[in-house]
């Protein structure tokens, strides 16, 4: 899953088109409930199951895409 695909997931879940590669999910209004929906979308698309702490560590599309690549 590349950074654009992760950005698209952020946009859909946050219902906000203004997401860039360096947008912090939690700064943009994401909370733990919405975070789980990002993680389930990633699992469906890439087969990689990240947990909530992984997301806190890598809260932007670019960081999250790297994390997915490292675990794929």
């Amino acid at each position: 899953m590349n950074v654009n695909a992760v950005s698209d997931v952020f946009r859909r879940v946050l219902e906000n088109p203004e997401v860039s590669a360096d947008s912090d999910f939690f700064v943009m209004g994401g909370d733990s409930l919405l975070a789980t929906r990002v993680l389930s979308a990633i699992a469906r698309a890439s087969g990689v199951e990240l947990d909530f702490d992984d997301f806190l560590d890598a809260p932007t599309p670019s960081a999250l895409a790297k994390k997915i690549a490292s675990q794929a």
């Binding site: 909370d31 409930l33 789980t36 929906r37 990002v38 993680l39 389930s40 990240l50 947990d51």
Partner: protein
Amino acid sequence: MSVVVVGAGLAGLTAAAGLAARGVEVTVFEARERVGGRTHGIEVAPGAWVDAGAAYLGDRHTALTALLAELDLKTTPTTMTGASRFALGGDDGRTRAGRFPPLSAVALGELFDALDELDRGVRAEAPWLSADAARLDRLTAAEWAREHLRHPDARLFFPLFLGEMMAADPADVSVLHLAFYLRSGGGIRYLNAFAGGAQENRIDGGAHQVCRRLAAGLGDRVRLGEPVRAIHQDGDGVTVVAATGSVRARAAVVAVPPTLADTIDHRPGLPVPRSGARTAPGCAVKVHLVYPAPAWREQGLSGWSVNARGPLLSTVDDSPADGGVGVLTGFVTGREAHRYAALPAAEQREQAFAQAARLFPGLPEPIGCHVTDWVHEDYSRGCYAALFGPGDWSRLGPRLAVPHQRVHWAGTETSTEFFGLMEGAIRSGHRVAAEINAMYRWRDIHD
């Protein structure tokens, strides 16, 4: 022009105040010896009040926010700092930063995705007209969960989520009602959130003050201890029969929950009842444990916990803002509420004390304990709100807010916006006052 209002909760009193402000002669009949309905305050220490019933609001609750400003009431944030406790396995509890339970995030994400999809499929203003409404209205949320939730963590969390959000056991509500409830309240994220959501604030000093102040403005027009037994209509008006006498008026507003509205003898009879055999009471028992101080904070804990086993399925720090006593509020909801409500008082206290001590080790014995059982409240029949079971929306929905000749309906269950919340009750009160004003004023001018 005269109107009788039945029920002195938020809906009834908002309606009565709105009508009185337009010069209507109102009489409010309230069955209890207090106003407030499903808002109720308990003074846990001198000057320190907690909410035994409805408590929270968020910034989308604009009618309530405006009413608070009018009544000169303030809000206080429900800010949570510190770690949470989770007892979701067989253990006594795990400590974790934030509010997120130690369950599979991917599994919970699938659950929330599925709920979001339900939310998006429903027509909030007329759920019975939604695509696939007939099927969704037949299916219970429990049946839906068995079909859609595969991961054990999602299956474990779903009833806890539903209990906390709408005081429902999944077997009690139709999928259509669940979908509607989500949409009506602003979606799963808004309904679930404290900060930035429907639980952002409490009312400083207690939510019960709203009705008290509305009633104070109405003075002796509010008559307590007057359960209404019958409403008889004829061509000119209504006769509302209460405990100590009857009152004649142009119209009536019934602002009580649906199952209670059905206990009134309506003549002529209602074309469709207000509730059905599957309409269940909202299953909530609220437990307030009072401590000399919120000692959990010294251990870095927020007081928030989520627990797979009862009685307290979740706890939250509801300590008054003045820095005195510590109050831990426990929510006993869904099926567990029925079990717990049936216990003797001493056993209820013992179970609540023991669970709080396991969750928050080192807490002293509580100095107070208040158990509020809404399931068996004769004049509420459940809380947060009535639960619409299979078939209810198809049968009852189209007439929920449609007047029965001169009898008009209010109450949070008649509001398709913020159903089940204080906000919904207040919006229904405004709606019914405007409805009556428009209908009868016009006739007064032209008769």
